[in-house]
C-alpha cells in the first residue's frame, strides 16, 4: 500500500506544514511550549528554593517586565497560540499519536474558552458570577493559580505522549506517516 493511498483526501492547505515542514513546525511550536514551562519552573525555583515572596517570583521575563507576566493579553495570547498550533499540526500525526494530540486539542479548546472569559471581563470591566475580579467557570471551585497550572498540565501530558508516539512509532504507524518526522523505513527494516 502506498503512503499516498493511505492518506485519502487529496491536497489540503496545511499539507505543506504537515508534510516536509512538520518536524520544523513541531520543533518551533515545542520551543514556545517549553519556554512557557521554563518560566513556570523558574518561578517555582524562585519560590521554593530561593525563598522569594510569591509576588516577586516572576520567572525570567517577569523580572525585566513585571507587567508582562500578569497581563491578561499574555495569558490569552498563549492560550490562543496553543489552540492554533495544536490544530494546525494535527494532520502530521497518525495512529495513536493523533488520538492523544486531539485529546490535548480538546482540553485546550476549553482552556481557551476559560481564558477568553477572563480576557473579556478584564477588557470590559464587567465581572461575571458576582465576583469583583475576572473569574472563569472552573474558578468557582478552584483558585486561579492552581486551576491554570492544572489546565496547562493536562494539555501538556497528552501532547508529550503524542510526540513520543509520533517520533517513536511502531512499523504500521511509520508506514502511514507522510511528514518529515517519519523514521527511515529502509534503515529500520534492516534492524533485527
Amino acid at each position: 500500500m502506498s503512503v499516498a493511498a493511505a492518506r485519502p483526501g487529496g491536497v489540503r492547505q496545511t499539507d505543506w506544514l504537515n508534510g516536509v515542514h512538520h518536524r520544523k513546525a513541531l520543533n518551533l511550536f515545542m520551543i514556545v511550549v517549553l519556554a512557557h514551562w521554563a518560566e513556570h519552573l523558574t518561578q517555582a525555583y524562585q519560590i521554593w528554593v530561593l525563598g522569594w515572596p510569591v509576588p516577586q517570583a516572576r520567572g525570567v521575563l517577569g523580572l525585566a517586565y513585571p507587567w508582562l507576566v500578569t497581563s491578561e493579553w499574555l495569558h490569552y495570547g498563549y492560550a490562543l497560540v496553543m489552540l492554533v498550533g495544536l490544530w494546525m499540526l494535527r494532520r502530521g500525526f497518525v495512529g495513536r499519536a493523533r488520538g492523544w494530540w486531539l485529546v490535548a486539542f480538546g482540553i485546550q479548546f476549553w482552556h481557551h474558552i476559560e481564558h477568553l472569559l477572563l480576557f473579556v471581563q478584564a477588557q470590559t470591566g464587567t465581572f461575571f458570577f458576582g465576583r469583583s475580579v475576572p473569574t472563569s467557570v472552573l474558578q468557582l471551585v478552584l483558585p486561579r493559580v492552581e486551576l491554570h497550572l492544572f489546565y496547562n498540565t493536562v494539555v501538556f501530558l497528552p501532547m508529550v505522549i503524542a510526540i513520543i508516539l509520533h517520533l517513536r512509532p511502531n512499523r504500521a504507524e511509520a508506514e502511514l506517516m507522510t511528514c518529515a518526522c517519519a523514521p527511515r523505513l529502509a534503515v529500520a527494516a534492516s534492524t533485527p
Partner: protein, 192 residues
C-alpha cells in the same frame, strides 16, 4: 471525459479557521474600543502616619478611578506582632479596597495592600497608623473572627501545585530528549 474533482478541505477545518479568525478579530476589536486609564491610589484611611482617637472599623485604600483587578490583598496587623486584626475578607468596591478590622489594643498598626490590575500592573503600599489609648471600648477577644481572614494569600505552596510542577518538570525533560534525538521505529512493539 470530465476532469477529476479537485479535493477540498474538510468543512470542519475551514469552519474552525473561520471561528479562530472571528475570535481574534473580536478580541482585537474589543481591546481597541475599551479604554483602561491607569488607576492610581488617591488616598488611604486611616491616613498614613496618622493617630486615630479610637479603633477604626475598617482600613481602606481609595483609588482615583474604577479598579479592574485580577487579584487583591489587604492585611492589617499590630506593628511587630504579625497577627492579623481582620474582621472579614477584603472587598474590592469600584474605587475602594476595604478590610473590616477589629482592633482590641491601642498602639501602632501596619496595613499592607497589593492590587494586581488586569493590565498587568501592580499597586502596592504600606500604611502606618496609631490607635490612641482611651478610645471607645473594643469587643472582647471571644467575639473576634479567626486571625488571617482577608490576609495576603497566594496559592503557590500547596501540594497540588508542587505535584503538578514536578510532573511538568519530568515531562519537559522527557519531551526534550525525544525531540533532540532522531526519530526511529519503536523496537519490540511491532504489530502488523
Amino acid at each position: 471525459m470530465t476532469a477529476p474533482a479537485q479535493p477540498r478541505p474538510k468543512d470542519g477545518s475551514r469552519w474552525f479557521g473561520y471561528l479562530v479568525a472571528a475570535v481574534v478579530c473580536g478580541v482585537v476589536a474589543l481591546a481597541a474600543v475599551t479604554d483602561q486609564p491607569t488607576t492610581r491610589v488617591a488616598g488611604v484611611t486611616p491616613a498614613d502616619g496618622s493617630t486615630v482617637a479610637g479603633p477604626p472599623a475598617e482600613v481602606a485604600v481609595i483609588f482615583d478611578g474604577v479598579v479592574r483587578a485580577r487579584e487583591f490583598h489587604l492585611s492589617v496587623e499590630p506593628a511587630g506582632q504579625g497577627r492579623s486584626v481582620a474582621a472579614g475578607p477584603a472587598k474590592l468596591e469600584e474605587r475602594r479596597l476595604v478590610l473590616p478590622v477589629s482592633v482590641t489594643t491601642a498602639g501602632a498598626y501596619l496595613a499592607a495592600y497589593h492590587v494586581l490590575l488586569t493590565d498587568g500592573r501592580e499597586l502596592t503600599g504600606v500604611i502606618r497608623f496609631t490607635v490612641a489609648a482611651g478610645g471607645p471600648p473594643v469587643p472582647a477577644a471571644a467575639d473576634l473572627p479567626p486571625a488571617g481572614a482577608g490576609g495576603h494569600q497566594h496559592g503557590a505552596d500547596d501540594p497540588l501545585s508542587l505535584g503538578l510542577l514536578v510532573l511538568d518538570l519530568l515531562l519537559v525533560v522527557v519531551v526534550a530528549m525525544v525531540l533532540l534525538r532522531r526519530p526511529r521505529i519503536r523496537a519490540g512493539r511491532h504489530r502488523g
